[in-house]
Amino acid sequence: MAALYEGYTLCGLVPAQNQSNSGIQEVEEERDCDHVLVTDSTRSVTLYKVSDQKPLSSWTVKQGQTLTCPAVYNSQSKEYVAVSDNKVIRIWKEEDILLEKTFKATVSSDIRRVHSVPGEEPVVLFQRGAVRLLDSLLSAPQQPIEEVLSQEEAIRWSTLVVVESQQFVIFTTEQKGENFLYLQRLKPNTLQRYRLEREEPGLSPLSFSASYTDKHIRLLYLYPNGHVYQSVVSVRGLGAEEGAQALPLPRSLLLVLPVGEGLLEAASALVLDEAHVAVVGVPHPSAGAGKDFLCIWNTNFQTLQAGKEMAGKIYGQLWSFSNKLFIPHGKALSVIPYECPKSCLASALGKLRQAKSDESKAPASVPSWNNLLHGEKAPPSRAVETRKTRTTRKSQSAPSSTFDQVLELIKTAPAEEIQKEVDGLISRSDMQDLQPSVGQLASALVSRSLNDAAFYTPSTLAQLVHTRSLCHSVCPDLVLLALERKDYFLCQLCLQFFPDIPEAVTCACLKTFISMSDVDAEKVSLEPDSVSFMETLMAGERGPVGLQNGFSPTSCDEERSDTLSGGGAVINTRAEDKEKISTPPEQICPVGLHKTVLLNEVLLTAYSDTYLLPHLKDLSSQQVVLFLQYLQYLYLKYSQDGFPQMNGLRSPSLSQVMDWVCLLLDAHFTVLVMTPEAKGLLLNLHRFVKSQVRLVSELGKIEGSLQELNKMKGTKTDVGQYSIEVIELF
């Protein structure tokens, strides 16, 4: 829910005699969001520091002159620009005290407004619709100014929007009850004219507000009958169809605000973000007809999110800079901090069209449910933000800017430099803040590696995986990239740390691992823990043979002689079997140490067999046989040496091993039956199963006899209507 917090007064107002206007022309942002320039309706301009609620300096034009255009701040030259008496441009710096002594230039036509956005040159809009950059105007102040608008057309509102480093002057005009929208692009100059659809006759928009999202300029306008319309103009197709002809501007009704009795007079609607609109001078739907309310509406759901009653008269003026609303009311200009978090329902229903560009700036942190459920602090609410936290915030913004820089670096810089920068970044910031950025860094690295065959940063990626803030879904190409670059260490890390590796990727890993040569594998450096587990397991290769889990080689010998005496069907395999008995192959690990470690990682990953089976079918029969042999080896080891799940080392459990055996057999049974080399293996597995079945049946017998015992004890439970019993008390 959006929220309006407790506001504070920035300055007092001297409203005009008839109380119809607030005495303030405009509030403009100065060098940062904490400084604003307030231009009053007559002669003076005041610079305020908002958080301190105090004026820093003030300038006034001579008596008899009036400021006809609010002062703006030219961030390039650090100067202020204003216009007095329509034609005189005034430029001064902060240290100038007297305006009279500063730069003046008189132009040939009446100026409507000077607009300026940070980082861009100010733009001058003339009353007749012409637009000039300030510099070019000042180079020849008396240059002729063309008339764009027709005679009876007058500008009602204007603004400047920067779109991909292009400036757009947007202004609306009124002519004989009709309203037009002009979109003036600068450098190269193009002009587009749109006609606004007519509302009820005699109604002109009360206020406009423009914003730029996702390659579209969004214009929001409020009519006195409470209707708020939105028109969206694509920036792309501009210019191509330039012409004086007024195109009809499609509009959509966003909100129908309650108006109470009569029409709205002094009201204003301001876009806050894609889903929220601040409205002032409109009655609160549940508080009668009084119009002195400031409300935030959600346009997606047409719901009122927050409302605040403002004391005194509302002038229908409203400005917003960086989560603060500036509203003149009564005899004060108030600053009201607000917050518009994305509404959960909106995002859940997918109604909120997410601008891509926006996302890269503030990504939602997806990675780990754990972090979402536990830990993660609630974002500090702005309402309680003191001046102190604000300043600390400012100082903190330094590393975050380097984060952006690092992202830029990744696109171009050599691997070593990136390594260094990422190192620094990870060591600097704390884990909580890092969570979203790690994903971005990793995906940036991976995408560069994918594009640039020569580029690969194994240690950086390993380091990022080690933070445990990554998961497969955040960076889906990482594992495959590691496989491609034969970075098996990274593969191991990913298999260990990613909770969400798809079965297809698991299978791809398995396939690579099983088919790589042992020599290659030994070159790879791997996690020491898992290696040491396999070392101990293999070291005990010639250990004492115990009778574990109902299966021992001796018992299977007996078994075989049984079957042999029982029938002649398996006689053919006798010779082979003999061989095997002499050197039981299942006692020797069929794959090298490092390979086993990697395979174990695969065994340990989570999977769902329905999804795994189709991918398992891709394995070749040799691969399957080898893997089965390894699994058999593991199974035997586990059966013999008790359960070597020792001292917390990562090791597959017996049931995991058995599950994989079953899966492999399921996937490849017919192939295995047809493969001659697999015959011995299958027979062995068959014997395991047989011995297990025998064990279970023995256990069943024991259970049966124990149950009998239980029954003998509990005969008394069934008592009829009457019995005579003997009891003894002690």
């Binding site: 209507q721 019993e725 003997v726 003894e728 008390l729 002690f730």
Partner: protein, 684 residues
């Protein structure tokens, strides 16, 4: 301790009746419970939930609603009558016909001056409560459709009535209906069925809460008559509602056997906007919850499954104390079984008939744990139907088995039984006129006298012989208590007669002199069983708070053992038991043995053994069994508790030293109940 031959009897088909209404008297903490057969019981919650009083029912009197007015108890039923009970003599005091058809509900205003009844013909009738009776005052505006439930506003000016498909609010002074609140019907198939507002509650802030047959609990604004909130609680009916005294908590009983709690809470920290929020669900019943009471600390519920359940609210009581334990009262706290020890006969008392059984016989002996072969099966000798429509309130079989007596609220009947080749039963026709009715009946050990307790705790003594039966004496206690006698015990040696009444007094009469011998010092908990040890003339009394006292009738003081027991205190596990000792007998072979039982165990107290220490294991039979003989002495203590037999109605010792254990498994009771509403179980 030794071996016992036990006759394990399960052929007593005792079937408790469904609970149909309840009313709680907050001041004295007494709960009145009405059952489907018209019986009314009074439980004293302050005294460990002891069932103090039972007023027997009557054929055709179904109590639909109960209401306390001060200390007076009123009921109304579908027979169209309002009844006030005489709680001293345990019988209806009078009945008044309301002339409005069946009565569904009765409710008194908080001032206790008016009684409103809701009738089937759509009238709410007001009765003025006078000193000795009630008097019809007037009708409120007659409505179409029956009045199912009523609730007075605490101020007494308004009364809300739950009806079919709607709720009406009446001005109690003018008698006019001021509001009509329409109650929505159920969805689907039940759309065509009228919705019944089974229960209604009028709160002091003019909130009305209703429970209806569509499974809704609805909260209404009584000023405007608008619906504030609907809680769908069940697919079936919401049958009962009860609100706590401070009106911060409400419980609703449903046909599914659940009790749903609502609390008046503010959803935010902001204290202003409180609303009724569903908080907890209790499921302690298998069948409909027909009646509910919200006491200060617990929810008391009862219904079709006949059990009275006290579910403490854990936010109101101290946790892990006896107070916080769930309590289910399934059996009455009095004896329904009478044993003729000498003849080996059992008398079972049902509401409208009596059965006399002879226990079976076995030959030979067996090892402990064995079941012996039954040589002769038990047989039912007599089944005696009562005359008239009144239900039996007490009965007795003489020790020799030759006499059978029972009493209803209107008469006492005495029968002579003879067992020759065939059994003959003869009614003794001329009873003395003093013997009009009795709260308790008891024969002397030699079967020569019949004792019957009467009004004001008196006991009438009647001499019996083959030819006649003669009134001898009326024994009166000195205290002048007006309360009824609920326990009567004649000692084996024929010397003493003990009587206990609900004022907690125990009087002992000397039967040779036929006068009061002594009164045991009054203890503040009601006696639940009394018995006199024939060997020592010591009176043993078990109380509702689980205490046991032994009083020497000769010395007229508590015995040494009793003092020791009090000094050391009973074992905590003993005190925590939630069923009461309902019978005490003695072992003639060993006078130091006292045999006691409650519902879940019987216990032989060996007075010669040391009492269990607080740390000792109370239930130590298993331990002792596993120990070798010499070790046992060191570990044994006075309380030998046997839990082999459960759901006990009676444990007593026959003359041949075999125990008779009458069990009535609750499962069998459950199996005889009608099927509960169908409930979807997982995977069915």
């Amino acid at each position: 301790m030794g071996e016992f031959k036990v006759h394990r009897v399960r052929f007593f088909d005792y079937m408790p009746c469904a609970i149909s209404a309840m009313a709680f008297h907050r001041h004295s903490e007494r709960l009145a419970v009405a059952r489907a057969d018209g019986a009314v019981e009074v439980f004293c919650f302050a005294d460990n939930y002891f069932q103090e009083k039972v007023i027997p029912g009557q054929d055709g009197r179904a109590v639909e609603a109960l209401c306390w007015v001060g200390q007076r108890l009123f009921s109304a039923g579908l027979n169209g009558e309002i009844t006030e009970y005489d709680l001293e003599n345990l019988r209806p005091r009078y009945t008044v016909e309301a002339y409005g058809g069946p009565i569904w509900t009765i409710s008194s205003n908080s001032q206790g001056t008016l009684l409103a009844v809701g009738c089937d013909d759509g009238t709410v009738k007001m009765f003025e409560i006078l000193e000795e009776r009630i008097q019809f005052q007037r009708n409120l505006d007659r409505q179409k459709g029956r009045i199912i439930s009523l609730s007075w506003h605490p101020s007494g000016t308004l009364i809300a009535a739950g009806m079919m498909d709607m709720i009406r609010i009446f001005d109690a002074e003018t008698g006019h209906a001021t509001h009509r609140l329409l109650v929505e019907r159920g969805v689907g198939a039940s759309k065509s069925k009228e919705v019944v507002v089974w229960s209604i509650v009028f709160l002091s802030d003019h909130t009305i809460i209703s429970g209806d047959s569509a499974g809704k609990v609805q909260i209404w604004d009584g000023f405007t008559g608008t619906l504030v909130r609907t809680h769908l609680v069940t697919k079936w009916d919401v049958l009962a509602l009860s609100v706590s005294q401070d009106e911060s908590s409400l419980v609703a009983g449903t046909s599914e056997g659940t009790v749903v709690q609502f609390q008046f809470l503010s959803s935010t920290v902001d204290q202003q906007d409180k609303e009724w929020i569903r908080t907890r669900t209790f499921k302690n019943h298998s069948h409909d919850v027909r009646a509910l009471v919200h006491t200060d600390t617990a929810v008391v519920s009862g219904g079709m499954d006949t059990q009275l359940v006290v579910r403490p609210l854990l936010d109101k009581v101290e946790k892990k104390t006896q107070e916080s334990a769930l309590r289910k009262i399934a059996f009455p706290h009095r004896n329904l079984v009478c044993c003729a020890k000498k003849a080996g006969l059992l008398l079972f008392q049902f509401p409208d008939h009596l059965e006399v059984w002879r226990v079976g016989e076995s030959d030979g002996h067996g090892k402990p744990g064995d079941s012996l072969l039954v040589k002769r099966k038990p047989e039912k000798l007599i089944q005696l139907k009562t005359k008239g429509e009144d239900h039996i309130c007490c009965s007795a079989l003489s020790p020799c088995g030759g006499w059978l007596a029972y009493s209803t609220v209107s008469s006492v009947r005495l029968y002579r039984l003879q067992y020759n080749n065939n059994i003959s039963i003869t009614k003794v026709s001329r009873l003395p006129k003093e013997l009009r009715w009795a709260h308790q009946l008891c024969f002397s050990s030699d079967s020569s006298k019949l004792f019957a307790s009467s009004t004001h705790s008196t006991v009438i003594v009647v001499a019996l012989n083959q030819l006649e039966c003669k009134y001898l004496q009326t024994l009166k206690p000195k205290s002048g208590s007006r309360q009824p006698v609920h326990l009567l015990f004649a000692s084996e040696d024929g010397k003493w007669l003990a009587s206990a009444n609900t004022d907690c007094e125990v009087h002992v009469y000397n039967l040779q002199k036929l006068k009061l011998h002594c009164t045991v010092p009054v203890y503040n908990s009601c006696p639940t069983a009394v018995a006199i040890n024939p060997a020592t003339s010591n009176l043993v009394v078990a109380h509702a708070d689980q205490q046991i006292f032994e009083y020497s009738l000769v010395q007229k003081e508590y015995t040494e053992w009793s003092r020791k027991l009090q000094k050391q205190g009973l074992h905590s596990l003993w005190l925590e038991r939630d069923t009461l000792i309902t019978n005490i007998t003695f072992n003639p072979k060993n006078p130091a043995h006292i045999i006691l039982h409650d519902m879940f165990m019987f216990c032989i107290v060996d007075q010669s053994l040391p009492l269990p220490e607080a740390k000792a294991i109370l239930y130590n039979q298993m331990t002792l069994r596993s120990l070798p003989e010499p070790e046992r002495i060191r570990h044994s203590h006075a309380f030998k508790i046997c839990k082999n037999f459960q759901h006990l109605l009676c444990v007593t010792l026959l003359e041949d030293h075999s125990l008779v254990v009458v069990e009535r498994p609750l499962l069998e009771i459950m199996s005889q109940l009608p099927a509960p509403v169908r409930q979807k179980k997982f995977a069915t």
